[in-house]
Every structure is written in C-alpha cells, then in structure tokens.
Symmetry: C2
Subunit: 403 residues, 2 copies
C-alpha cells in the first residue's frame, strides 16, 4: 500500500541478494518450491534485501541468464538445487563457468561422499550398479577452483564460489535442493568469509504482521491514506485470502514509531475485526487457547474431505482426532451441532467441531465446549463455500477457546 | 539427464516466453504460487518455451528490473498479480511505464467494474466506505494507451500491452493474481492479436512422463548413458521424491521414436519398478483401480495426522471416509491389520487401509480387500518415516486394487 511507493529507509543502503531456484520440476509446478521463500526470509531477518527469486529449469543457458541478471545489482547470489549425481544436475558446473573457475576433483571429498552413499545404499538395501554409483559420487566431488565446499549435509556439498579473479562481482552460494540439506548447509554458508562480508554491511530490518477477519481491503486503503504521513517509513503490503486480511510492514528499528501509529490506527478503526495484532495465525491462536484452558479437541468433518482436520492435527498438540466422511446427509445447524457433540463424545475431548456437508448452497458449522457452544451457517455458490468454510470454522472456534 | 545437455530440437526455433509473478506474499512464502507453473504448462502445450519464472515483491524497481531482464530474449512476457484496488497493486502502472504508454481512465470500464464491485459488496453485505471503493474502482479502470483491456474476470481487467511505438520488443500480458481470474483471462489473452502472432510461430511440443517406484536415480543414469545416442532429441529431466522416480521428456512430434526407445529401455531394465508408463499418478491409478472393481475405501490413520486421508478423499470418488487419531497405541503388523479391518467395517466399504502410529522407529501398514490383504512395515528414523509412509501406503495399496 501507500508505504510501498516510498520505502526509503527499508531498501536504501541495504545489501541485496538474488536467489535462483533450479529445477524443471519446480518450473512446471510438479514440485512446489519452499527453498526460495525460506532463504528470502533468512536473508530478510539478517537485514539483506531480497527483491527477486528466479526459477529456472534444468538448462545451462537459462541458469547462466539468471546468474547474469542477478549478478548485476546484487551483492550476493544464491542458487538452490541441481547438485545431484545425474547429468541434469548441472548447477555446480554452470556456476563454476560463470565465475570463470575450472572444476577439479577433490579426492578427499570424493572419499567422504563415497562413504555416505555407501552407507545409505546399505541402509536402504537398494540394488545398485557400483560403476553408476561411483560416477555419481565423482560428479558430486567436483569443486570449482578457489571455492569452499561445505558439508555435505546430504551427499552433495554446498559451495561458496567467489567472483572471477580480479573482478568485484558477487560470490555465488550453491545450495542443495532437499530442504533439510539446504537449511543445514545455510548455517555453514553464513559462516563463510565471502558471505560474512556481505551480511556485515546489513543494518537490521524488522517485520511486523497484523491480521484482521472479515474486513474489505478497500476500507484499509482509506485508513492508510488518512495516516499516510505517519507511516511513510514503512513498507506495507496487504494480502486478502478467504476472508482474512494480512498487513505486513517492514521497517528499520529507528522507525518503530511509524509501526506503532499504524497499529493504533488499525485498532481504532477496525478493533472488532482485529484478531491478531502480532501476526500470530488463527491456527496458532486456537492452539494456545486450547492449551490455556487445558482442553483437547476433535473434528467431525463432512465439508473439507479431511483437509481442515489434517491442518489442525498435523501442527501437533491439542487436536487429537477426527472422523471424516463424504456422506451427503441432511444439512442444518442442528445437524452440525449433533456432529460436534458426537465427535466430542467419541474422542472424549472437551471441544467438538462439526462441519456438515456442503449441499443446496449451504454449509453449517458448530462448536461445543464445556462453556457452551455456537453455530454458524454460510450460504453461497459451492466453490466459494469450499474456499471459505475452513476460515469460517476457525474464526467460529477462536473466540470460544480464547475464553 | 543426458538429453538436457543437447536439447537442440526442443529449444531451437521455438518462441520463448518469460513469466513474472508479483507479490511480496509470494516472495516471502506466505502464499505458494500456482500461477507461474500453470502458465508455463499452458505455454508449453502451445509449443512456447518457458525457461524462467521471476518472482518479485510489490516494488516498482524490482518489477521493472524483471521486465527488462525478460524482454531481452523473449518474444512474450506475462505478469501475474498486482491488479487490485490498493496502491501496492502497481503492476499495470509499472508495465505501462515500461512499454512507454501513459495510463488513461477508461470511463466505460470504470462503469463496468463499479457495477461488479457494487454487486459484490451487496452480496457479501460488507460495510464499506463508498469513497474508498470508488477510488479502488477508478484505479482498476486505468488502461495504458494502445493496450487491450480483457474481461474483467474478477474486478480487475487483464491487459495486453504492446511494445513501445517503433520498437520490436515483446508485448506484455498483464494477468490478475487470483487463480480462477487468471485462468479465465488467459483464454481471452490467447485470442488477442499480439499474443496470437507469437503463438502462431510455435511448432508443437510433446511431453511424456514415466514413473518408477523404489528405484535409485543412479541406476537410471547408467541406462541413459547406455542409450545416449538414441535419446539425443529428448530433453529429459528426472525427479526423485519419497521413493518415486519421475522421468519427464519433451520432444518435437517427429522425434517420437526417441521417446519410444527411452520407454523400451526403461521397461527392459526396470520393468518391476515401472508402475506408470504414461505419467498417471499413483493416486489416480488407485482411484481407477477402485473404480474398475466397483470398490469403495476408507482409511484408519494413526501416522499422517489426517494428511493421507485428506489427499485421497479430496480427489473425490472412491474414498468415502476416515478416522484419524493421534493416540500412541502399540504398533505392530497385527495392529495395522486390525485398523484396516475395523475401518472397513465402520464405513461398510470393500477396502480398508490402516496405518499405525510411528513409534520406536517403525510404522506398520495394512490393506484389506475382498480378495485378501497385505501388510508392510517400515523402519528408520522418525523424520524419514514421516516422509516415506504415505508413498509406501499408496504403493502397498496399488497392486491390490489393480487386481
């Protein structure tokens, strides 16, 4: 919003990093990338500005083009993926070429990777061709001249590859694609001198999030226009989804007052819609509410095909069970109440949440707690109801578990 | 793999498109982007080569930088998102500036958008400030000179913005961010003369996928090295996840023989691991198997917190229910069988799938069908088991429902 147009203190004098995510499977959507945003967030917390993530397929010319683009105007470039044992895993070779550093076999590294791969093969008891395995190990032990090899966290080492000799281009940090290996390697990468030098120049950057429920974005725009002068130092972005409006601001620590002005204006104008002044998600607030009351909960789900239970149970803790069915029973507020009461008894928990099937343009929700309960009915077109039913159920639950 | 290094026929003489996904919420991972990969797939099917997707936050300078990068070397540039009513939705203005075309209010469009917004406000019964709403409508009715406004599918029109007068740069297609609006707008965009001109130059491109279960990637690499000459015209990428190995090849229709050579070699070398010669997913194959036998199924899940049931039930059809619990009961193959039998009775279905809790470094799976059943036990570290249990359950189920 307003602040995004004149985000002086946030973007000026801050080192910039660019991220390249490699993999045709990411480019074509067969795999959703979590690495780019995770790295962007790590860098942001370190005070580094990330303005772009480039996703490229497994083709050397596209990767080179992305590196060329980001090397101009960024003090650090990070790649993810493409370090596996097969020939389409070409990141190390392309980055070496880009930084004009020939690849050479590191025999000590080859031995280390060989030992890791050998023990994996033995543990998984997979059949394998020793020659193919050895070729894969050798490929992963090739390191660009002058680069630092880190790890390996999995079977492929991460690399910090300095700029070509005699130039002042950015170093390129080459990280493996599997998220757990990437995260482990990042810890080592941050300690490498080339990366430390970039991070040392980064003034701290704060980020705050405020969440509202059932509030149109245009209302917020009017408020922001009114307080425009007060929030100038903030870079504000908003995002509306399924009825929740999220307001994220980034600012230098000395501009804390502007953030407080924003928070005060939102509280004054939209106090009843404000459910999370500190960015805590509704899922987490419900978990805390249940925890605070010492309650456990279970869900009878006829509406989301198990998606809402999965979302609540997988975060661990207070949701201990669910019964999911696609049966098209009669739908009404009473039916939702019966579901909530039934599931509460079945799992012997304090809180039951019931969602009826979506039928005849309606869905009914009910919550039963030791203090009482509540129901809500939504009507509308089926695709809209499908999108909105989860958030509606969570926001029906929240006030009842917060006590 | 091998083919990716010399993908002549695939990438040469093919128009290239670049995609820019906008939104700080995507850059920071608060929202996962589905639009970029979806567009890449549409363009691929139309014979257009997409080598890069650039994700940028809501900052004009980053968007301009991405446009500059992609406009060099691409015949078409597509942006998604940033067309909303608030000031941080700046895509239309930045693209107009980039193509050197001043923005002007389209009064007819303003009236149309106003009517849509008015009816939405009335339907949702949201409180709103008429002045703020009108400002948002006016913003969305600004169109770059010489551009074509399409739709709107939601409240924001899509735009086809030609290159600056007197230059031969690519047109930029500006699409809205909400996926349903983006997909509706894409149909109109493809019909616009500037886009038609690019697509007309695209020779067709085919894509085939082969899936294997429980096969190390290095084995495949050895086979591909052996048949390297036969598969030269293919661009092959492989992706291993949770035990499934996916092999995707792209090729011009006249190179069909190379794809057949690849398929034959895989069948010969890895016939028992090959479960999907045409790319059909294991989920879909299970659904078809159940359908073919006239069977329905239900799941007792102590292992995935409801994730596997949600995945199977939400695709609709044959999975009709689940019982999910986080209880840590004793785990054994017999316990898994009891779960499978119990859930089969509870939902009165033909097939029961049971997953015990993950405990003491083990998880046990069982399937019961009218023809008999099967069990499998996995052992290992807990995080590894968590990742592998779903695929293992599906591949235990598959042969039993395929009959």
């Amino acid at each position: 919003m307003a602040g995004a147009w004149h985000s002086g203190p946030v973007s000026i004098e801050r080192p910039r990093a660019g991220i390249v995510v490699t993999g045709t499977e990411v480019l074509t959507g067969r795999v959703a990338d979590a690495n780019g945003p995770w790295l962007a967030e790590q860098l942001r917390a370190a005070g580094v500005d990330v303005g772009q993530i480039v996703v490229v397929g497994d083709r050397p010319q596209d990767l080179t083009s992305a590196l060329t683009h980001l090397a101009a105007g960024h003090q650090l470039v990070i790649t993810t993926g493409g370090l596996g044992p097969t020939a389409d895993d070409l990141t190390a070779a392309v980055v070496a070429d880009f930084q004009r550093r020939p690849m050479a076999l590191d025999p000590e590294l080859e031995e280390r990777i060989g030992a890791i791969v050998g023990s994996l093969m033995a543990r998984w008891a997979v059949r394998h061709d020793p020659a193919a395995t050895a070729a894969g190990v050798r490929k992963q032990a090739l390191v660009p001249a002058g680069a630092t090899a880190l790890g390996p966290a999995g079977t492929a080492p991460a690399l910090v590859v300095p700029a070509p000799e005699g130039t002042d281009g950015p170093p390129v940090v080459v990280l493996p694609g599997p998220p757990s290996e990437l995260r482990a390697s990042w810890v080592d990468a941050v300690a490498a001198p080339e990366v430390r030098a970039v991070l040392a120049g980064a003034p701290p950057l704060r980020q705050e999030t405020i969440r509202l429920w059932a509030m149109p974005e245009s209302e917020l725009a009017a408020t922001l226009r009114r307080i425009e002068d007060d929030v100038k130092p903030l870079e504000i972005t908003t995002c509306l989804r399924d009825g929740e409006l999220e307001i994220v601001s980034r600012f230098a620590p000395q501009d804390e007052a502007a953030q407080q002005a924003l928070a005060a204006a939102i509280r004054a104008d939209f106090g009843d819609a404000l459910f999370s002044p500190d960015g805590t998600t509704v899922d987490e607030l419900i978990a805390r509410g249940l925890s605070g009351r010492g309650w456990t909960a279970a869900i009878a789900d006829r509406a989301t095909g198990g998606h809402l239970p999965s979302r609540l149970i997988r975060r661990g803790g207070r949701f201990v069970g669910a019964q999911v069915s696609t049966a098209l029973e009669p739908v009404s507020a009473d039916a939702a109440l019966a579901l909530a009461t039934g599931i509460r008894d079945e799992f012997d928990v304090a809180v039951g949440l019931g969602l009826t099937a979506i039928a005849d343009g309606a869905v009914h929700l009910a919550v039963v707690t030791p203090d009482g309960g509540d129901t809500r009915s939504l009507t509308g077109a089926e695709p809209v109801l499908r999108r909105r039913v989860e958030a509606a159920a969570l926001h029906l639950l929240l006030p009842l578990v917060q006590g």
